[in-house]
Amino acid sequence: MKRIFVKEEFCMGCRLCEIHCIVEHSKSKDIIKAFKIEKPRALPRIMVEEKGSISFALQCRHCEEPYCLEACMSGALYRDEKTGAILHHKEQCVGCWMCVMVCPYGVIQRDLNGRKVALKCDLCAGREIPACVANCPNQALEYREG
């Protein structure tokens, strides 16, 4: 399946991936409205980890053997048959946070706006190239088979 790979040596920690992730997951998909008007503001599914000069952007790895899927008691997490991506039914999620606990990468977050549910990367379903990859100014993110 196609996955997002990170080239840590070229991530400069500008966090534009986070910004464009927010815009992509906002209602309006407009950067000004997403940040200034929409309440609550959409949350990024990608996180830039940074220490000193080292930084990289991380989001769901869409594992071959996902611990989160095994741990999900409500069946909210599932694998998309077509793309192989690990996706999440918001309505089915009970907010038990087991997926958050078992994820070895720490890339499942808690969405505390409204009903408490898990929040994770959906590879921008509907887009050919995920927003974070398309908008990385230094080609530090790559979307390819692997």
């Binding site: 040596e9 400069m12 500008c14 950067i31 080609q139």
Partner: protein, 481 residues
């Protein structure tokens, strides 16, 4: 985003008011924040604070005095001479053929930009047989260029590793050469050796057997257009682990290149070094000698050719630098157009023009400048600043601070990552390909199908807005004549 991108700390975020504050006095005008802002919310304008109008005491003159009164130091700057001296390329016009000799469409017909640099024999003797054609005259070593453009000397130290790698990769893809400057050659870049010109300069940093053996050609640097007569100084903070190894000096020490080469005090001394290098490389590589364009360049160039230089590189007063005293950069040296015309003329008069190729450097901005230089007598052109701009440089002239926001003129690992060699290589290749296409178009328009036919062909040029003396030095007729 803007707060994090500015190495000069021009932007800051105030959590109390939830506002981003910009400090205009810290802004260098590099446009990093402007380019990366996802909402196009930023613009950089000159701060309109004016002094009382004064033709002599310009704001520039006044501010420089303030700075020096404060610090007591020499004013430093980066890039090339930015003062409003005339740019003679803008006073030269190219010819085109109409009716009497047909122009050529480079998209339909082959067009030759290939250039060979190096000493040429006075005449060629050939062995003809029925089918074969053999060259009897032994040819001195030559550099083969697919287009008459090379990347100028920029050292690892002055520019980042990623910038060096981008230049090397682009040179390889384009079939041309880049120049290491005085910074030595990083071990990872030895694989690009056949597209590398290595420099032997006054500090002799990083010069050893493998360095000379790996390169395609060796350049002895006598002077640099941005700072003729001045040595170099790479501050100790920039001499990080890798640079210290490449330059072969202790980590954290200042890398001082003396003003002269201490073993060259005459043309005879230069000859000794040229032949020492030729011996060391078994006469397999052309040796170039680079000088800054100064008042008596023609006589010096003549001496250089007689001393055995296969290539002479002339660097005009617009040539760039990582750091130079401003007073030197802005006031020393002469325009490359005059230096080129007079050197070419002198070497022709002395009958030794074929003994060396001429590369010119110093502020070449576009393919028209390159074409005009070749018509004035150059064999090829070095581009430095233009290649940096292709990689992202916005000419803010703060190279000497080591805080380049574009990841080019810096050794800070946080900033260096901003230059991705994959992207920069592609952009350099694009630029040179674009210029090469344009040069072909201009050649075609003149009814010429090879760059050889334009070389030194001053009849292809006419001057506009120049005095009789200037026209005489350039060796061109005025427009209309």
């Amino acid at each position: 985003m803007c707060v994090r991108q500015c190495a000069f700390k021009g932007h800051s975020y105030d959590p109390e008011t939830d506002e981003v504050i910009s400090k205009e006095e810290l802004c260098v005008g590099c446009h990093r924040c402007v380019t990366l802002c996802p909402t196009n919310a930023l613009t950089v304008r000159q701060n309109p604070l004016d002094f009382r109008p004064n033709g002599n005491w310009t704001p520039w003159a006044i501010r420089n005095i303030f700075k020096q009164a404060e610090t007591g130091g020499v004013l430093l700057t980066g890039m090339g001479n930015d003062r409003p001296y005339p740019v003679y390329w803008d006073h030269l016009l190219l010819n085109a053929s109409q009716v009497t000799n047909p122009s050529i469409d480079p998209l339909r017909e082959p067009m030759e930009l290939r250039t060979y640099l190096g000493r040429k024999p006075k005449k060629l003797e050939l062995d003809y047989t029925q089918e074969t054609l053999k060259l009897k005259t032994p040819l001195p070593p030559q550099l083969k260029l697919e287009t008459p453009i090379l990347f100028s000397a920029m050292s690892y130290g002055a520019i980042s590793y990623n910038a060096c790698e981008s230049l090397a990769r682009a040179a390889e893809k384009l079939g041309t050469y880049y120049n290491t400057g005085e910074g030595g050659l990083h071990p990872n870049l030895y694989k690009y050796g056949k597209n590398t010109i290595v420099q032997v300069a006054s500090g002799r940093f990083g010069v050893h057997k493998e360095y000379l053996d790996t390169a395609a050609a060796i350049e002895i640097k006598i002077g640099q257009g941005a700072k003729p007569g001045i040595g170099g100084h790479l501050p100790g903070e920039k001499v990080v682990e890798d640079i210290s190894k490449t330059r072969m000096i202790p980590k954290g020490t200042d890398a001082l290149s003396p003003a002269p080469q201490h073993d060259i005090y005459s043309i005879e001394d230069l000859r000794m070094l040229i032949f020492a290098l030729k011996e060391a490389t078994r006469y397999t590589k052309p040796i170039s000698v680079k000088i800054a364009a100064v008042h008596n360049s023609p006589a010096i160039a003549s001496g250089m050719v007689r001393a055995g230089a296969d290539i002479i590189a002339l660097d005009g007063f617009r040539g760039g630098t990582g750091a130079s005293p401003m007073v030197i950069r802005d006031n020393v040296g002469i325009p490359i157009e005059f230096a080129l015309a007079s050197v070419d003329q002198r070497l022709r008069e002395e009958g030794i023009r074929h003994q060396a190729s001429i590369i010119v450097a110093g502020g070449f901005r576009n393919s028209a400048d390159v074409s005009k230089a070749i018509a004035l007598g150059a064999d090829a052109v070095y581009i430095g600043t233009a290649s940096l701009i292709a990689m992202g440089c916005h000419v803010c002239q703060k190279c000497y601070t080591g805080k380049c926001n574009w990841g080019i003129a810096t050794q800070d690992p946080y900033l260096e990552k901003r230059l991705n060699p994959d992207i920069a290589t592609e952009r350099l290749v694009n630029l040179i390909n674009a210029w090469s296409h344009e040069i072909k178009e201009m050649l075609g328009g003149m009814g010429i199908n090879a760059i050889e036919s334009l070389r030194g062909n001053r009849l292809a040029l006419r001057g506009i807005g120049l005095t009789d003396t200037e026209l005489e030095i350039l060796g061109v007729l005025p427009a209309g004549r």
